[in-house]
Amino acid sequence: MLKVENLKVEVDGKLILKGVDLELSPGKVVALMGPNGSGKTTLMMTIMGFPRYKVVEGRIIFKDTDITNLPVYERVNLGIGLAFQRSQSIDGVALRTFLKKIAEKRGVEVDIDGIANEFNMGDFLDRFVNKGFSGGEQKRCEFLQLLVLNPDLLLLDEPESGVDLDNIKLIGKAINKILKREVTPQTEGTDSERCVDKWKLKSALIVTHTGYILDYVKADEGYVLIDGRIVCKGNPYEILKIVEKYGYRRCERCV
């Protein structure tokens, strides 16, 4: 699904990512951990394709296509969806109108009221996008937008930060709904059959500090990013335990 190769990225002339390799197979969920300022958000933003994040070396492959130089909206069209760590408010634009526009753009029909109510956002549809929303409400709003976008690759930047436990559960439910996780991944059938279905197995890259979200969304693999480099790869739940006990210092030795 996604392959990041030797990615080096500069922001405002400063090298932040110093050669990141990462691979995400269809149907897999990968947790990305690492200390503050290590470059997790930078990696997400670069995969999404924002021009401020300059790729100086390496490439990004998505669904067998080199997307390193594609504009953001084309990546969205290909099926990448990002939940921002920090969202933006848009004055004068009602959430309902906005979601309708997103659906139109994606060429999908969505029961906006239905999903908004399912995720406790029904009362927000007539308010301006994120305007005056609390931290947790903003996060739910991110997921409401992602539910409409229905991407194949989810990039989730700290989906649970600032969210109470009940709502973490709700966000977990939203993620599983997008990932179609209630359906078990199909591994049977001939190669060509699987090939057709290949991208229907959705993937996610989740940045998390606490790992709470991983109680609701099962992660298959964990990566640790320190100072712009992947230093550790393994069972995400094990990594979290070690980090909790010894801090990230222990991870540095993992290499």
Binding site: F50, Y73, V76, I90
Partner: protein, 349 residues
């Protein structure tokens, strides 16, 4: 009909008069349409109306008489019966086609306990011309006037409206002003006088083009206890000069007013000024203002791009929101027109 190259729908005028209680149309100095469908509402050419003393008394009462303006060619005179709540709006349209100068005198009288909406569209073929519109509105006790004005001028047209509004006890005046394809020069400073318990809400959204110089303001005198005013001006500049003014005057205690002037610059070479002014002539008043001039934030554009929109689309969504296109209750055909306009103008920025 003489109308040549102006699409009237764009300025909110429905030629079939569906869902309209009356219509008035003037091309240059000629009245080409004038009539009503709903009882209790009267639409008369001003020249004819003032032949009658009963109506003549409304001339130069909300504005100071100004002989320097010269003689007016005509204009509309709209009056309701007391208590009449008009179901549909009256539509009016003033067009410049051949003449160099169009000078109209418009009067609207909403009688006690009556309610009326007037949608007025002003436009011209794209060439030189000057439009001087004198407007006097009277909203009597507990009456309600919703006045919606759409300006769509040719590039070289100059527009100098004079407007005075008298809002009596417990009455409400709501004005929505939309100006896109502005002429070369517009200068207007309507003045509104609000009596005890009266309410004024003024929204304006202006899209300033490269060749235009727009100077718009609203002045409200809060003259009676409990009078309230809210002025919201939004202006977007694609080059050109835009000045947004506002002046709230509190003359007695117990009044409340809020003034908001916001400008957005989309193109270099624009000059945008926001000039709010608050004036209290007594204690115990509540006057506030908010002014801001800036550009669209990069983060907002990025946020929308991540939802699949191109940078141009992202920009027009933000501008549309900024202008409050969905907040103000505009006719659908006009919204579509604004969208088309924004799409075109945000291309290549």
């Amino acid at each position: 009909m003489r109308v040549k190259s102006v699409d009237l729908k764009k300025v909110g005028f429905d030629e079939r008069e569906v869902d309209r209680s009356g219509s008035y149309m003037q091309v240059d100095s000629e009245v080409v349409k004038c009539g009503v469908k709903e009882p209790g509402v009267y639409v008369i050419p001003t020249k004819k109306a003032i032949e009658c003393d009963e109506y003549r008394k409304y001339l130069w009462k909300a504005l100071k008489e100004d002989p320097s303006l010269g003689d007016f060619s005509n204009g509309y005179f709209i009056i309701t019966e007391p208590g009449k709540k008009a179901i549909f709006p009256v539509q009016t349209c003033l067009l410049i086609e051949d003449s160099n100068i169009q000078h109209v005198h418009n009067i609207i009288v909403v009688e006690e306990d009556s309610e009326l909406t007037v949608v007025t569209g002003c436009s011209s073929v794209p060439r030189k011309g000057t439009h001087i519109g004198v407007s006097e509105f009277y909203v009597k006790k507990r009456g309600k006037l919703h006045f919606m004005m759409i300006h769509m001028w040719g590039e070289e047209v100059e527009v100098y409206p004079r407007t005075g509004v008298i809002v009596e006890e417990g009455a409400t005046y709501v004005s929505d002003y939309v100006c896109f394809k502005p002429g070369a020069k517009i200068k207007a400073y309507p003045t509104i006088y609000v009596d005890r318990g009266g309410t004024v809400v003024v929204n304006s959204m202006v899209m300033v083009s490269e060749t235009s110089n727009i100077d718009l303001g609203t002045r409200v005198y809060l003259k009676g206890k409990g009078a309230r005013a809210e002025i919201v001006s939004r202006s977007v500049s694609f080059g050109g000069v835009s000045i947004t003014r506002g002046h709230l005057v509190a003359e007695v205690p117990g009044v409340k007013g809020h003034l908001e002037c916001k400008g957005l610059i989309l193109k270099d070479g624009s000059i945008v000024s926001a000039i709010p002014e608050l004036e209290a002539r007594t204690r115990d008043v509540d006057l506030t203002h908010e002014a801001a001039v800036g550009k669209i934030s990069e983060e907002e554009i990025e946020y929308l791009m991540a939802r699949g929109f191109t940078p141009e689309e992202a920009q027009s969504i933000i501008v549309r929101g900024f202008l409050n296109v969905d907040v103000v209750n505009l006719p659908e055909s006009l919204k579509e027109e604004i969208d088309k306009f924004l799409e075109l103008t945000t291309e290549g920025i």
